[in-house]
Amino acid sequence: MSIDSADTATGVQTLPFSKALNAGLRAAMANDDRVLLMGEDIGRLGGVFRVTEGLQAEFGERRVLDTPLAESGIVGTAIGLAMAGYRPVCEIQFDGFVFPAFDQITSQLAKLTNRHEGRMSFPVVIRIPYGGHIGAVEHHQESPEAYFTHTPGLRVVSPSTPNDAYWMIQDAVASPDPVIFLEPKSRYWPKGEVDPSARALPLHASRVVRRGTDVTLVGHGAMVTVLLQAAALAESEGISCEVVDLRSLSPIDYAPIVDSVRRTGRMVYGQEAPGFTSLGSEVAATVTEQAFFSLEAPVLRVSGFDVPFPAAKLEGAYLPDADRILEAVDRALAY
C-alpha cells in the first residue's frame, strides 16, 4: 500500500483527481470484499490513466481483473457476477469504446432490476473516462452522457473535483442500482483537496459552486472549470454569475438550479456533448417549466457542435470555452 493512500489518512490531503479516485476505489474495496474491478489493462498496468494503479498488487488478481478485450463481455459478465453477489466496477477504457457494450447496458443492466421485480439488484458501476481537451485521436474525446441519462434504470453521475471523485465513487459502488460513472479525463491531473473524514454531499445532489446574481451557469464534469473561468471573466465586466455543478446527471437535483434561476432570471447551460437531444436540452426544458415566470430570457445552451467530434487540432474550436459561455451570457442579458 502506498504511503499517501487517502483512506488511511485522517486529515485533508491534496491529491490529483485520478489519485483521489484511486483512493476512493481502494476504500470501497477494503470496505466490502464483494467489490471487484474489471476492465482492459486495469490490473498490471493500472489502467491507461493509472486510476487503478497498485490495486491489483494490493487486492490480488481475483479482485482486479484484466479481462479479455470485449466491452459487451465486460458488462455482460459483470451482470452475471452481480447475480452471484458481487459488486463489479467496470472500466471502459475511453468514452468511444462503450458502444459495443450498449446492448448489455441498455437492454440488460438498466432493466434487470425491473425485470426481476426487485428480487435481485444490480450494483454495477461502469466507469467511463470522457470528454475532450486531451488532444487525442477519434473516439477518445467524446461525451456520451445523453445516451445513458435517457435510459431508465440507470443512475448517471460525474464528479468534477478530487473530493467528489473520492466520495462519489464510493457512493456509486455502494448504490444498489447500476451507476454510470463519468470521469472528466481532462480533470485527472489537476489537484484538489480531499477530505476523507466526511462526505460533503449525497451522490445525487447538485452543488452551487459560486454564488452570483445575474446569470446562472450550469454544467458538469470538466465544463464546471470552464463555467468558473467564464464567471471570473464576467465578474471583471461587472456581471455576477452563479455556477452550479450538476454532479448527478440522472436523476438531476433541480432544486438548487431552479432556486438560482428564480433569483437570476437567466441561465446558460454548458456541455461538451453535441447539443441536439442532449442533457442540456433536458435541463433547459425542465428549468423553463419550473421557473417559467422568473425567466427573463430563454435558457441558452452552449454545446459541442452537432457534428462528429473533430480531429484533435480542432478541439479548441469545437469545445465550448469561457468565451463561448460569455457570448451566451451576453445574449441572455440582452433579452
Binding site: 470485449a70 459487451s72 458488462v75 455482460g76 457476477l81 452471484a84 453477489g85 426487485g118 435481485m120 436523476p251
Partner: protein
C-alpha cells in the same frame, strides 16, 4: 436453402443412444456415455417420459390460450422436449440455469410454476419468477435479446470460481452453470464473448445449443455451413454433438459435461440436434418457409414417441402411459384454470422496481399518475 436434416441425422460424430423407434442402438460416439444411461433407475426413465408428455400438454394448452386471446404470444417448446428434459435432469440441485425464452420444459422441471411463464407471455410481467427462491431451482428468468444471457451465465460462472463454490472435487457440492441458446442466437457477438470469458476464467459452464434447425424463417445453414458444434473447439472447449431428440443421450452428455465442468476442467459446449415441430411463436406461419416433407421427416423422430418406444420395449405397461396422459391433461387443465383467474396489474407497479432505491423523478411521476387517476375517480364520483 432449406434445412438438410438428413446430412445431420447421419453425422457419424453424433451421440445417440436410441433409434427413432426407441430401440437401444448406441452410436459409436455414445459408448463412453452408456454407463451413465445404464445407471438410470426405471423410475428416472419414467420421470423423463412423464416430463416430456406433461410439458407438451402444457405447451399445447398455452398455444390454445394464446389463440383464445389469453396470451400476447406463445413460443412453443413442441418437439424440443428431449433436449430440454435430458439436459435439465442432468443438472444437480446446486447448479444455475440460464434459459433463453423457449425453455419451458427446463424451467418447470427445475420447479418453476408454469403459471409464471404464462404470466410473462400474458403481458403481466417481464420476469415471472424469483431465481433466488429455492423453489425455482436456481433457474434464471428468460432473456429475449438473443444471446445476452450467455454472458450473464459466464459471469455467474466466474463468481462460482472466485468464491470456490466449484472445482473442489465433490460433485455433490461443486456448482456449475448451464446456459441455453439457439442456432440463430449462435451468430450473436455476445455468444462469442461469453465463450471467450468462459474459457479465459475456466468457468464450470456448459453452453447448451438447441439447434432446432430454424431461427424463425431462416435455416441453420445461413448461420453456419459447418456443424455449429465446431465453434466451441475454437475456444478450446471440448464440444459434443448429441441427438437432441434422444432424451437419454441428451441426459448423458449433459451430465458428463456438467460434472467435468464442475470438477474444474472448464467450460464445454453441446449442440443438441432437434427440431421446432411447431411454429416459431403463435404469430408465425411456418408454411411460408418450410416444406411438409421436412416436417414429416422430423415428426417421425418425435422425442416422445422415441422414449415411449424404449419404455415399451423395456416392458412398461400400457396403464403407465395412460396414467401419464391423464396426469398431463390435468396439469394442462390446471394451467388453463389458473390462467383464467389471473388478475390485472396496478399501474402504480410499473414504478416500483425501476430502481432498487427511491428515485426522485420516478417518485414524482408515480405521484402524478396516482393523482391523475384519482382525478378521474373524482370526476366519476
Amino acid at each position: 436453402m432449406p434445412a438438410t436434416p438428413d446430412a445431420d441425422a447421419h453425422d457419424p460424430a453424433l451421440v445417440r443412444v436410441l433409434a427413432a423407434d426407441g430401440t437401444l442402438a448406441p452410436s459409436a460416439e455414445a459408448e463412453r456415455y452408456l454407463p451413465l444411461v445404464e445407471a438410470l433407475p426405471d423410475s428416472e426413465l419414467e420421470t423423463f417420459y412423464r416430463d416430456m408428455v406433461t410439458v407438451r400438454a402444457f405447451d399445447r394448452q398455452a398455444t390454445n390460450l394464446q389463440r383464445q386471446g389469453q396470451l400476447a404470444l406463445w413460443p412453443p417448446s413442441f418437439g424440443q422436449e428431449a433436449a430440454q428434459v435430458g439436459s435439465a435432469r442432468a443438472t444437480r440441485a446446486q447448479d444455475h440455469l440460464f434459459p433463453s425464452y423457449r425453455e419451458h420444459v427446463v424451467c418447470t422441471i427445475r420447479g418453476v410454476d408454469p403459471i409464471d411463464i404464462i404470466r410473462l407471455m400474458r403481458g403481466l410481467t417481464h420476469g415471472g419468477w424469483d431465481p433466488t427462491d429455492p423453489k425455482n431451482g436456481n433457474t434464471h428468468i428468460y432473456t429475449l435479446v438473443l444471446g445476452s444471457q450467455t454472458l450473464h451465465a459466464s459471469g455467474y460462472g466466474m463468481g462460482m470460481v472466485f468464491d470456490g463454490r466449484t472445482g473442489t472435487g465433490d460433485p455433490e457440492r461443486d456448482e456449475a452453470v448451464i446456459v441455453y441458446y439457439g442456432d440463430g442466437a449462435s451468430s450473436q457477438g455476445d455468444v462469442h464473448e461469453a465463450m471467450v470469458f468462459a474459457a479465459s476464467y475456466n468457468t464450470p459452464q456448459v453452453f447448451f445449443l438447441q439447434n432446432n434447425h430454424w431461427a424463425i424463417s431462416v435455416p441453420v445453414s445461413t448461420q453456419s455451413r459447418v456443424p455449429l458444434v465446431r465453434r466451441g473447439e475454437g475456444y478450446g472447449m471440448p464440444s459434443i454433438r448429441v441427438d437432441g431428440n434422444d432424451v437419454l443421450a441428451s441426459y448423458a452428455v449433459t451430465r458428463l459435461a456438467l460434472d467435468e465442468a464442475r470438477s474444474g476442467e472448464g467450460p464445454r459446449a453441446i449442440e443438441a440436434l432437434t427440431y421446432r415441430m411447431g411454429a416459431h411463436t403463435t404469430s408465425d406461419d411456418p408454411t411460408k418457409y418450410r416444406t411438409s416433407d421436412e416436417e414429416r421427416f422430423w415428426a417421425q423422430r418425435d422425442p416422445i414417441a422415441r422414449m415411449r418406444g424404449f419404455l415399451e420395449q423395456k416392458g412398461a405397461a400400457a396403464s403407465f402411459f395412460d396414467e401419464v396422459d391423464a396426469e398431463a391433461a390435468a396439469y394442462a387443465d390446471d394451467v388453463r384454470v389458473r390462467t383464467n383467474e389471473l388478475g390485472s396489474l396496478d399501474p402504480d407497479s410499473m414504478f416500483t422496481h425501476a430502481y432498487s432505491e427511491p428515485h426522485p423523478l420516478v417518485e414524482q411521476q408515480r405521484q402524478w399518475l396516482a393523482d391523475y387517476e384519482a382525478s378521474f375517480e373524482e370526476g366519476r364520483a
